[in-house]
C-alpha cells in the first residue's frame, strides 16, 4: 500500500459515519418492518395507497409525483412525504 493510499484510507474512515450509527439506523428501519409485519418492499407502497385515499378526500394530488420515504435525523426516525397538490376540492 502506498503512502497515498494509506492517507486516503485514513481520510475516508474519518468521514464515514461511526459504524454504531450505521447499526442504529439499520436497526430502526428493520424494526419498523418487523413490528408492522410487512415486507420492506411492500410497506411504502401500501402507505402511499392509503395516503392517497385519505388526502384525495380534501385535495386533488399528483399521484405520480407523490414521494414517501423514511429519513433519520439525530435519534429520530421520520416519515417524510412530498405530495404535489393540484387543487383543493370545493365543499360548497
Amino acid at each position: 500500500m502506498s503512502v497515498l493510499q494509506l492517507l486516503q484510507r485514513l481520510w475516508s474512515r474519518e468521514n464515514e459515519k461511526p459504524s454504531k450509527d450505521q447499526a442504529k439506523e439499520r436497526l430502526r428501519l428493520v424494526l419498523v418492518h418487523d413490528r408492522v409485519g410487512v415486507a420492506p418492499d411492500r410497506l411504502l407502497p401500501m402507505l402511499k395507497d392509503d395516503l392517497i385515499a385519505v388526502i384525495s378526500k380534501y385535495m386533488e394530488i399528483d399521484e405520480a409525483g407523490l414521494d414517501v420515504t423514511f429519513s433519520q435525523e439525530d435519534s429520530q426516525m421520520a416519515l417524510v412525504a412530498s405530495i404535489p397538490v393540484r387543487g383543493v376540492r370545493r365543499h360548497f
Binding site: 459504524s19 454504531k20 442504529k24 436497526l27 430502526r28 418487523d34
Partner: protein, 267 residues
C-alpha cells in the same frame, strides 16, 4: 409468600443466557436467598457444566415432568453454596417431552420453597422458549450490542408482552469499552433508543468468563472480575436496591492494577 419466577431469554443464540443464569443464581444465593435454576434447554444441556455440577446429575427435568422421580430428587445442590440448586435439562430426549403446562406446575411448586426460580431459556421462539416462559412472572432479556442480537431481542420483547410478561428488563452483555470509544459499538443508551425496555445491567466482554467457565466456577465467585462485579450488581438490583447503571470502563493497565492491589483505589 411464593418466590419470584424469572425467565432469562434472548431470541438469538449464544448471547449469554446460560452464563447470566448461572451467575445471577450464584450471586443471589450469596446474598442469602434460596435459589433454584432450571435448565430449560432440553437436548442442549449446558447450565450444569457452567456451574461445574455435571457429574452429580441423576434425574432431570423430563424425568420430573414424566413422573419418573419426585421434583426434590432431581434437584442438585451446589457444592459451594448451600442455598443454590439446579434442575438440569434432559440431554437426549426430544424437545416435546415437556409441555408448557408441566413447566407451569413445576415452577409453581418450586416457587413455594425458593425465593427465586431462574429459568434458562433456549434460543429461538419455538417450543423450548414457550416452555421457559410458561411459569415465569418476570423476564430478563439478554442481548449483545450487535444488530442481529438487538433485532431478535425486539422480537422477544414483543412475544413476552403478548404473554402478559410485562416490564421485562434488559441485560446488555459483552460490551467492549474500547470499541465504544471508537464509535464501533452501540452503548446501552443506543440500544435503549431502539428497544422499548428498561435496563437492569451491563456486563463487559471479559476473558474471566471463559476462564471461569473452563473451571466450572461462576465468575461472581471471582472478586476481581469486572463481569463478576457487574453480575453481583444486577443481583442487588433484583433485590430492589437502587444502584445506578454505569457503563464499564476500559480495563486499567498495570499501574491501575497495582494501585488496586495495594488498596489505593477501590475497584
Amino acid at each position: 409468600m411464593a418466590g419470584r419466577v424469572i425467565v432469562i431469554t434472548s431470541g438469538k443464540g449464544g448471547v449469554g443466557k446460560t452464563t447470566t443464569t448461572a451467575n445471577l443464581g450464584m450471586a443471589l444465593a450469596q446474598l442469602g436467598r434460596r435459589v433454584v435454576m432450571i435448565d430449560a434447554d432440553i437436548g442442549l444441556r449446558n447450565l450444569d457444566v457452567v456451574l461445574g455440577l455435571e457429574n452429580r446429575i441423576v434425574y432431570d427435568l423430563v424425568n420430573v415432568a414424566e413422573g419418573t422421580c419426585r421434583l426434590r430428587q432431581a434437584l442438585i445442590r451446589d457444592k459451594r453454596c448451600e442455598t443454590l440448586y439446579l434442575l438440569p435439562a434432559a440431554q437426549t430426549r426430544d424437545k416435546e417431552a415437556v409441555s408448557p403446562e408441566q413447566m407451569r406446575k413445576i415452577t409453581e411448586e418450586l416457587a413455594q420453597e425458593f425465593d427465586y426460580v431462574l429459568v434458562d431459556s433456549p434460543a429461538g421462539i419455538e417450543r423450548g422458549f414457550r416452555n421457559a416462559i410458561a411459569g415465569a412472572k418476570e423476564a430478563l432479556v439478554v442481548t449483545t450490542p450487535e444488530v442481529s442480537a438487538v433485532r431478535d431481542a425486539d422480537r422477544i420483547i414483543g412475544l413476552l408482552e403478548a404473554e402478559e410478561l410485562r416490564e421485562p428488563r434488559l441485560i446488555l452483555n459483552r460490551l467492549r469499552p474500547d470499541m465504544v470509544r471508537r464509535g464501533d459499538m452501540m452503548t446501552m443508551d443506543d440500544v435503549l433508543e431502539i428497544l422499548a425496555i428498561k435496563p437492569i445491567g451491563i456486563i463487559p466482554d471479559d476473558e474471566s468468563i471463559i476462564v471461569s467457565t473452563n473451571k466450572g466456577e461462576p465468575v461472581v465467585l471471582d472478586p476481581h472480575s469486572r463481569a463478576g462485579q457487574a453480575y453481583r450488581e444486577i443481583a442487588r438490583r433484583l433485590e430492589g436496591e437502587d444502584l445506578p447503571i454505569s457503563p464499564p470502563q476500559m480495563a486499567d493497565g498495570f499501574m491501575g492494577r497495582l494501585r488496586r492491589l495495594i488498596g489505593l483505589q477501590s475497584r
